[in-house]
Amino acid sequence: MDNEQTITPMTEAEERTDTQVFGFWLYLMTDLIIFGVLFAVYFVLRGATFGGPASYDLFSLRSALAETIVLLTSSFTCGLALVAAQRGKANQTIGWLAATFALGAAFLALELTELSRFVATGASPERSAFLSAFFTLVGTHGLHIGVGLLWIAVAIVQVRLRGLTAGTRSKLTRFALFWHFLDIVWIFIFSTVYLYGII
């Protein structure tokens, strides 16, 4: 009974955000399973180079590290955008979102440069099962980043048009979850694909 008195009941808007965020978590878990399968496939096929280049012939830690730093920084700016949104500062929110967008785009550019370098040296996804698995795993992550960029663009427009309402704030919360999720997936890619691949 005491508990009930100390907890203030949620408003309708809060309740809605709560359900939306919960639903989004469920979606993230399904996405996590997709990445889980891709990781598993990669590890099964890692050695199946079929006479083509292996991971240690291709990967450069320098570019992978650069990508990692850029993406982690973008997660930080994304966090700052959310803090600004919670304080009700629309312009600051948009600024940090724009920074996140720029960093995300930079990450994608770095990644595409790296992958096209691989393809140019003949290490394309058709070459071997290992390369198919590598390109698909990293490419799926990159595709998610691309969707994230589109989402940031829409979010910026919506915050600009509507300000920080309960609706836009709920969207930003979900976007932040998505972006941090992609960061975590990337950390796994960096450590288990790139670092482990160079050994």
């Binding site: 709560d18 359900t19 939306q20 919960f22 639903g23 469920l26 979606y27 878990m29 399904t30 996405d31 399973i33 997709i34 399968v37 891709l38 598993a40 496939v41 099964v44 096929l45 199946a48 180079t49 079929f50 996804p125 058709e126 070459r127 071997s128 099962a129 290992f130 198919s132 698995a133 390109f135 698909t136 589109l150 829409v154 919506q158 509507r162 609706g167 969207k171």
Partner: protein, 669 residues
């Protein structure tokens, strides 16, 4: 230029075999008749406004059930064609229609059994359950809508798009996948299955699978977040519990299907080497992954039926369910165990004795929670006042047949025995026993049980019982011969066999069984027609025709679109039973208790979005890149437009709710 515009699409892709011409003509004629009828009756606007764009879970549920019924007819026709071929094709008798044996050539026969499996699993059973869950779960937990109404509509329309897509090959392409319902590589790779059949298969599953996934997320969020005040998890009705388990399985397993079939498609489209026999690909990887989805899928189809039977047994025995907590635990146990048994689908892979032993034991262990449920149902019936209504008959039929099929399953779980019976008709008989008795009988029981809630009148009992007996007898006559044939060595997917095997009489017997089942299905159609005609005699005036015990029966029948005039509150299991004990009487709520209700508006966006997804997938199947880009781009644009739309709700004022509620109860007097 021509390749840019049309991709791989050429004149030869248009129908020119007897079955594609026939099916295309049937589809076109059917649609023309439907369109003509709608125009004649001036019902287009009504259809669009009241049904197609609806976000009301009850209407979406009905649309799911209608679509699944159509697909049941389609899949049943495939089953009849398979049987006819097998009954005819012993020995060297000359074939018909250009076939060497029977009347189907091997290629056509393969397409039919592939389509039969996929349609029955993805579009019939899944469709029926999503329909029933949409109809009943929100009512059982006292919610007016789902957590995400737009997503629910989108899930349904993706399901429809997938169902249309799986039948598209009749009209354009001329062939479906001939590689079995799971399209195992290397057979399904480009090298061995050129043409668009497998691509149609992949994209049909992608589209409908996405719909299922959205539905799964939506229902888990709804059940966990939107329950009536006071309804703790352990006070939920068992159908809600089993739906929750099933939807958790959807969330956890469908992503695996999505990504695995996408990888297969990447092999075919981009020339990758995940599952090829060259360049380091590993076909067994696909087999493992697809069954990591495939076995949980079996339970997605069966667990909700357990919930339906729990409701039916409890209501028609006039007792609370025996061992509620153990029922919940058993459902959760089955949910978890279903992820630990996938390898039993291919013991013959050669994973070694230890691995096989582990998966064999885990498979046997699943029998324990399942048996707990069976014993609890029997204990519920013990000393109850049993009413032998049609749903109850379906339960009794299920209990017997399912237990027998389960025994066959335990036999198959022993790796040594499985090596003998792998890929035989014994296996085919086993899983049909399980799916027909649990999933289909469960669906029939559920539809009969909840029919009055949705329509306002009960189904004709006499004809219903007749249909039940036809189904049960038909089941035995058609599947017991398959058990025997399996032991005799007949493999599955057999398009002809030597006369000296002596199998033909058994195949013919099985075919007679199919005819009996078909008679059962037609009797059910007859039952619905007669019931609609006699609806005034079978009116459900109280909203509670069976003496139910969960919240859905506290509403007037048919359920008004706002579901509950006053949001219910709950403080025990079998909440409605308790309410009745405390003197609840059917009728409008007390004046002054009504409040404003927030309702979701209708939206056509889900239809446009699914349409774009459909076009995009069509472009990918035929390598029409501009169409693929346009389709995917259109879908994304729809999504963004939807995200800008904040005007998705309206308010039904309390006074209006009161007026409607009085009217709903008044009408029934």
């Amino acid at each position: 230029m021509e390749h840019f515009l049309l991709g791989d699409l050429t004149w030869s892709a248009l129908p020119h075999q007897w079955f594609t011409v026939g099916a295309t003509a049937t589809i076109v004629a059917g649609l023309a008749v439907l369109a003509g009828l709608l125009t004649y009756l001036k019902k287009w606007k009504w259809l669009w406004k009241e049904w197609l764009t609806s976000t009301d879970p009850k209407k979406i549920g009905i649309m799911y059930i209608v679509m699944a019924s159509v697909m049941l007819f389609r899949g049943g026709l495939d089953a009849a064609m398979i049987w006819l071929q097998q009954a005819m094709s012993a020995g060297n008798a000359p074939g018909f229609l250009g076939a060497a044996h029977g009347y189907l050539d091997a290629n056509h026969f393969q397409q039919i059994f592939t389509a039969h499996g996929d349609i029955m699993v993805f579009f019939v059973t899944m469709g029926f359950f999503f329909g029933l869950i949409n109809l009943i779960v929100p009512l059982q937990i006292g919610a007016r809508d789902l957590a995400f109404p737009f997503m629910n509509s989108l899930g349904f329309w993706l399901y429809v798009a997938g169902a249309v897509f799986i039948n598209m090959f009749f009209v354009i392409g001329g062939q479906f996948a001939g590689s079995g319902w799971l399209s195992l590589p290397p057979l399904s790779e480009l090298q061995y299955s050129p043409g668009t059949g497998i691509d149609y298969w992949v994209w049909s599953l992608q589209i409908s699978g996405l719909g299922s996934l959205l539905g799964g997320i939506n229902f888990v969020a709804t059940i966990l977040k939107m329950r009536a005040k006071g309804m703790t998890l352990m006070k939920m009705p068992l159908f809600t519990w089993t739906s929750l388990c099933s939807m958790v399985l959807v969330i956890a397993s469908f992503p695996v299907l999505t990504i695995t079939t996408l990888l297969l498609w990447a092999d075919r489209f981009f020339g990758m080497h995940f599952f090829t026999t060259t360049a380091g690909g590993n076909p067994m990887l696909y087999v493992n992954l697809i069954w990591m989805w495939g076995h949980p899928e079996v339970y997605i189809l069966v667990i909700p039926a357990f919930g339906i039977f729990s409701e039916v047994v409890s209501t028609f025995s006039g007792k609370r369910i025996f061992g509620y907590v153990s029922m919940v635990m058993a459902a959760i146990g089955i949910t978890l165990l279903s992820f630990l048994v996938w390898l039993h689908h291919f013991f013959t892979m050669g994973a070694g004795a230890d691995v096989d032993a582990f998966f064999g034991i885990m498979t046997g262990v699943i029998a324990i929670p399942t048996a707990v449920q069976i014993f609890n149902w029997i204990a519920t019936m013990y000393r109850g006042r049993i009413r032998f209504t049609t749903p109850m008959m379906y339960f009794l039929g299920f209990a017997g047949i399912f237990t027998m099929g389960g025994m066959a399953g335990v036999l198959l779980s022993i790796p040594g025995a499985d090596f003998e019976l792998h890929n035989s008709l014994f296996l085919v008989a086993h899983f049909h026993t399980m799916i027909v008795s649990a999933a289909l009988f469960g669906i029939f029981a559920g539809i009969t049980y909840w029919f009055p809630k949705v329509t306002g009148f009960t189904l004709n009992e006499r004809i219903g019982r007749r249909a039940f007996w036809l189904w049960v007898v038909g089941y035995f006559v058609s599947f017991i011969p398959l058990y025997i044939l399996g032991f005799l060595g007949a493999t599955r997917r057999l398009d002809h066999y030597a006369a000296s095997t002596g199998w033909q009489p058994l195949f013919i017997t099985a075919g007679v069984g199919v005819l009996i089942i078909a008679a059962g299905a037609l009797t059910q159609v007859w039952q619905v027609i007669v019931s609609i005609r006699e609806r005034d005699e079978h009116r459900d005036t109280t909203g509670d025709p069976w003496g139910g015990h969960s919240l859905e029966w506290s509403t007037p029948s048919p359920v008004p679109y706002y579901s509950f005039a006053v949001a219910p509150e709950v403080d025990s299991r079998d909440a409605f039973w308790e309410m009745k004990k405390r003197g609840w009487k059917p009728g409008p709520a007390a004046p002054g208790t009504y409040k404003d209700i927030v309702m979701a508006k209708n939206t056509g966006m889900a239809i446009y979005l699914s349409g774009f997804v459909f076009l995009g997938a069509f472009g990918l199947v035929w390598h029409i890149i501009w169409l693929a880009v346009a389709g995917i781009g259109g879908a994304i644009a729809c999504f963004i437009i939807q995200s800008f739309d904040e005007d998705t709700e309206y308010i039904l004022p309390a006074a209006e709710v009161e007026r409607l509620d009085r009217m709903a109860w008044e009408r029934n007097k």
